[in-house]
């Protein structure tokens, strides 16, 4: 069949690399073609028509022309620039993390409308979010894993198929699910999973984000959930997810600052609610400290 010379698609730019003096090579994520590599010409010059419409973390409607090697972006119209996300250090960093996972799991030339919607939803929820984004990321990860065939088994032991009770359970990244206490204690690579974490994971795995966000998660539980899922993802990819390090650095940085009293020192000129807002900009969990 003859291929169309020009086509239109929704797209989110995953990443850009410079090409020559004025051009960029884009990695796009699209609903029907999966990942697509394309050239955006002249975008590094100020005043380029494409400009902000080919930046990462932007949902656009693009027109592309089939090229010999790479397709060429001829037009790009922004559907949502996620401005709220981009103007907040923590949120934009969460956005980068989502992009990195999409880049790792999406496939070139293979349709994945569900994953496309899932990523857009994550960006939208991050824009609206008031609590810091941890639940958004975990919900995104769990559903992404299901879409690519790595849904973790959370109801039966992956070792002996026995049903899981309220005794001590383990999670095995290698086997992609829960281990009962006897299988788990024999498997040195698995880690204990608390009953609270198990219940939350089971609920999030089958619910939409608005439902998932109703679960109250304290700092310790949030950390356990983050660790168990990121160990699993690291095992699947056989490498680190690079943005994780940056997210952890931002969290640590915010905690150090509060400890040093940097923000308290300025409290005289600001109301407490301003202060809480300031901290929420940096990281989740801190707003709770100010309530205490």
């Amino acid at each position: 069949m003859r291929q169309l010379r020009v086509y239109q698609t929704q797209a989110v730019v995953i990443k850009q690399t410079g090409l020559g003096e004025a051009d960029k090579i884009l990695t796009l994520f699209t609903p029907d073609l999966g990942k697509v590599k394309a050239v955006a010409k002249g975008v590094r010059r100020p005043g380029s028509k494409l400009g902000g419409a080919v930046e990462p973390l932007t949902h656009s409607l693009m027109t592309l022309a089939k090229g010999r090697n790479l397709d060429i972006v001829t037009q790009s119209q922004i559907i949502d620039g996620f401005a709220t996300l981009k103007s907040d250090l923590w949120k934009v960093s969460c956005g980068f993390y989502v992009l990195e996972l999409v880049d790792a799991f999406a496939v070139e030339g293979s349709a994945n409308r569900d994953m496309f919607e899932l990523a857009l939803d994550a960006f939208r929820y991050l824009c609206q979010d008031e609590d810091g984004g941890d639940t958004i990321l975990r919900h995104f990860e769990l559903h992404l894993l299901s879409m690519v065939g790595y849904c973790p088994q959370l109801h039966r032991c992956v070792g002996c198929s026995s049903s899981i009770g309220s005794q001590r359970n383990f999670f095995s990244a290698e086997q992609g699910g829960l281990l009962c206490s006897c299988c788990g204690s024999r498997d040195g690579s698995s880690h204990i999973l608390s009953l609270r974490a198990l219940k939350v994971l089971r609920l999030w795995q089958k619910s939409s984000y608005p439902e998932a966000s109703r679960v109250k998660v304290d700092g310790k539980l949030a950390e356990e959930l983050q660790q168990v899922i990121s160990q699993y993802i690291r095992y699947i990819l056989q490498r680190e997810v690079k943005s994780t390090k940056w997210l952890q650095e931002l969290k640590k940085f915010a905690v150090d600052n509060t400890r040093r009293g940097v923000y308290n020192a300025r409290q005289s000129s600001k109301t407490v609610s301003d202060e809480r807002k300031l901290c929420r900009l940096i990281t989740p969990g801190l707003s709770k400290k100010f309530n205490a």
């Binding site: 005043g47 934009v92 931002l250 940085f253 940097v262």
Partner: protein, 199 residues
């Protein structure tokens, strides 16, 4: 294929590694040097070697420098109370061409790129912070590029610097001169709106 003498081919293949030079122009340049006087080739070869030997990073601002510190850091007429933060040495050129900025610079040598594992440790950020800790600086101007990574870097630095009691400003963002409002994206319009000024 046309047979070309080996030394000529070798030069052409080196030249074609330069940006914007294809195999044809490379061969043209190689022939040009072959036909031109010996001194011209010697001068060019020496200029390249001495540039590679002598240009180092300025130990203060990490601009390119010949010798100890860069010409800007050495210039006593520059105002040491202001530091303009840029991504790369080449970003200093247009700011100097404008001619209105009299302060100093600090070159980060990149931006934070979370998905590529480029964090603060890979940039000249701790060096910037020790310059600020000396207490002479009252304003830091963020001149990182107005894209997602440049903005992320600027927001991070602002978090680091503000607690020191130093004013942090950002180059005005928004609509480029000659832009059409109709085609501007919501991020750009939002920034232009927030950065509006009295007429």
């Amino acid at each position: 294929m046309i047979a070309v003498a080996k030394p000529l081919e070798r030069l052409a293949s080196e030249l074609s590694k330069l940006p914007g030079i294809g195999p044809k122009s490379a061969m043209r340049l190689a022939y040009h040097l072959l036909y031109s006087p010996q001194e011209q080739s010697t001068a060019l070869a020496e200029a390249i070697l001495s540039m590679k030997e002598r240009i180092k990073f300025c130990p203060v601002c990490f601009n390119f420098a010949d010798g100890d510190s860069c010409p800007i850091c050495q210039d006593e007429r520059r105002d040491p109370s202001t530091i303009c933060v840029v991504e790369s040495p080449s970003d200093i050129v247009p700011l100097e061409r404008m001619g209105r900025y009299k302060g100093l610079y600090h070159v980060l040598h990149g931006t934070i790129k979370p998905t590529q594992g480029v964090g603060p440790d890979e940039l000249r950020i701790s060096e910037l912070m020790s310059r600020l800790q000396e207490g002479k600086v009252t304003e830091v101007i963020m001149a990182t590029n107005p894209n997602v990574e440049g903005e992320t870097t600027a927001m991070y630095l602002c978090r680091l610097i503000t607690p020191l009691g130093i004013r942090v400003s950002r180059l005005a963002r928004g609509l480029p001169f000659g832009a059409d409002l109709e085609y501007a994206d919501d991020v750009t319009i939002g920034q232009a709106f927030e950065g509006r000024q009295d007429l």
